[in-house]
Amino acid sequence: MKNETVERKYLPEMPRKEMDELRNTVKTASQKIIADNIEHMKKADPHRPEAMKYFDEMADLFGKRQKEIAAEKEKGKKVIGYLCLFAPTELIMAADAIPVRVNSGWYDTSKLGDRVVPVEVCPVIRSTIGAKMIELSPFLEQSDALISVLTCDGMTKLGEILGDTKIVWGMNIPRIKDSTQSLRFWNDEIKHMKTQIETFTGNKITRKNLKEAIETSHRATKAFRRLQELRKGNPVIMGRDAMLVNQAYTWDDKKRWTEKTEVLCDELEKRAQRKDWVCSPDTPRVMVTGTPMFWPDNWKLPTLVEEGNPQGIIVADEQCSGERILNDPIGVDEWSMDDMLNAMSERYLMASTCPCFTSKDGNEDRINWLLNKVKEWKIQGVIYYVVRGCMLYAMEYTRVKKALDKINVPVYYLDTEYTREDVGQMKTRVEAFLEMLNARIDI
């Protein structure tokens, strides 16, 4: 924690009392929303898997996991938060610290963020700033240091703003991902981050530790892929449930998460044998791509899709709050320190399909990956979800649409805000899209 007397460059000084009041109001509201969301998820699927209970527990951001981290912190462990998926979590794990993702999904705090940055800025950023202002987000408050990867414009400045009260380490990610010089540069960044984490935590990252950490994330990826594989067939799990499971990885204990996901997969396999589908197999299969959707508040789109009339089912997503978290494993060749670091930098830079990148042929990896997903998961319609201010995703829409038009899969551009006011209007739009998908299936 930085010295409090240091002058804040961005964040306004708020009286303690006002801050506490605001926090309590938002926290109570948020707890209610979490419970409400889970209630909705339970209702949508009458035979919801037993294993989801664990993830419901984890989903309560102010509940069990927060207390666990607090207990670990008391034992002397450090918590290192990160803002983008490009932060090398394996290094954090290898240094015996806890990695948590601190992006925020609270609608209410985005209004507070307006006091610091203009309204045009992406609401994810504004909401995170707001959460910091009233010290709402438990993980953000608990983290001793933050890794901010300079991906999109918002993230670049967000790191700076949060630097008012936290130690923030910037990582400069090259925007061209398939050139050797970018890779060399990024590799140096990762090496630098390693020394930084080592000095901060006081634990040396040894070859053995790092190998163990990489293997932990391999196991997690394996469990994740098993879950994705199950979603390829007739629906056995609601899309929201799977999205929550994926997102829980970013704050949960990685080993426990893997175990529980495997249990969930076992249960789902049995369910598939019983042919006990969550909804009729004719339900339009929808993929969501675009801006990340953070738990708990920003859950309106999946809820609308899966509780709409006609109903849709989300079987895949391409978001950094969802499947991109765990999709790519670290392909280590020789398990020497250098090779592991090289493999890590390649996995984080080259395998990612974030639109903040470009390459020789533009961001073609993302297009290819989307096309592959559409094929493999038998997607019937794609919802391109963008929050206002998310430039990169919005700009790449045209290209995605052209590519998907070629294989005759409808795409729907849905832009929204961090607000509950447009739910009614969104409902109409989503239902119209689902109606259209239904009509296509009938033909």
Partner: protein, 316 residues
């Protein structure tokens, strides 16, 4: 020897079961060992006739299998692979040659092969008296220089120390090492030995630091590859690596794990990988983390494809 083979088999099965990510590499090792033994057996009889047979078999195989020989059978390749294992055990990081140099070496191998093959002819043209009146063909085949030998040389490392076809005599010990005999005959007796020893040292040290360094410009590899480069023979080699562009996220694993630093697997947009640099060791296929993205194909049939290898690997 049988017991040794049996032990190798058991070991291979154990590793096979334990480790998904290096299955093919271990299978490859076993095949390399078996090939080593087989070639040892052939060469321990006589030199000339089996060499010619080998040459014919090799070139015939090339049409179907491409540079399969280089990756899976070549004894020199085995030595270089053992060096890789030793380096891994010592936890030394390999060096990477710059892409440009790699390509220059790759193109330069034709030059090396040509120099070896044509030197006797040129020498004979310059000074026909040296070897009486032997016709050109006989000069090439049975002459003093044995230029065809360079196409077979990778097969004789440390195998036939007693044979006089390729012997390097160092301090009274006969060693056989690829190309050394050629170097000695080509450079002449005075410098020959020094050059030969330097060559052996350079390949061994180079092979330790850079993965499969010799294979990047091996004249044998070049001769094998040249068969595949005739126009109109688009179908050959039947054995090839195939890429599914849509499933690829360009994570770069294939590029990094390749012992020959072949870039084409990464760069090419799907389809059959067209490069004579690749020796089909299938390391990229084995390490590719996306199921079915890379495939080793024989004709249109898939021999082996990339899988979900995510069981933590214990290989060192």
């Amino acid at each position: 020897m049988l017991a040794g083979l049996g032990a190798a088999g058991v070991l291979a099965v154990l590793i096979w079961k334990r480790n998904l990510a290096s299955r093919v590499t271990f299978l490859r090792f076993v095949i390399q060992l078996v090939a080593f033994a087989a070639i040892f057996y052939i060469f321990s009889y006589s030199a000339f006739i089996p060499m010619l047979y080998e040459l014919i078999v090799l070139f015939a195989l090339t049409i179907f299998l491409g540079r399969f020989f280089c990756g899976w059978l070549c004894p020199l390749g085995l030595i270089l692979d053992v060096e890789i294992l030793a380096r891994r055990a010592l936890k030394v990081r390999y060096r990477i040659l710059p892409d440009k140099l790699n390509i220059i070496l790759h193109k330069g191998r034709y030059l090396i092969a040509l120099v070896f093959l044509l030197t006797p002819v040129i020498l004979w043209l310059l000074d026909p008296q040296e070897i009486m009146v032997s016709p050109l063909m006989a000069q090439l085949l049975a002459g003093h220089y044995r230029p065809y030998g360079i196409l077979l040389d990778p097969m004789i490392p440390f195998i036939v120390p007693w044979s006089n076809t390729a012997t390097l005599n160092v301090a009274g010990v006969n060693l056989s090492y690829p190309y050394t005999q050629n170097i000695i005959t080509f450079t002449g007796a005075e410098f020959g030995l020094i050059f030969a020893v330097a060559f052996v040292g350079a390949t061994l040290v180079g092979g330790f630091l850079v993965r499969r360094v010799w294979c990047r410009f091996c004249p044998t590899g070049c001769s094998i590859a040249s068969v595949n480069q005739f126009k109109g023979l688009g179908g050959v080699p039947l054995l090839h690596i195939d890429k599914d562009e849509e499933k690829c996220t360009k994570c770069g694993v294939c590029k990094r794990v390749c012992p020959l630093q072949v870039n084409e697997v990464y760069d090419q947009k799907g389809g059959k990988i067209k490069t004579s640099q690749c020796m089909l060791c299938a390391r990229c296929v084995e390490m590719c983390p996306y199921e079915g993205t890379l495939k080793l194909k024989l004709g249109s049939k898939t021999v082996f494809k990339s899988r979900n290898w995510l069981d933590p690997s214990n290989s060192e």
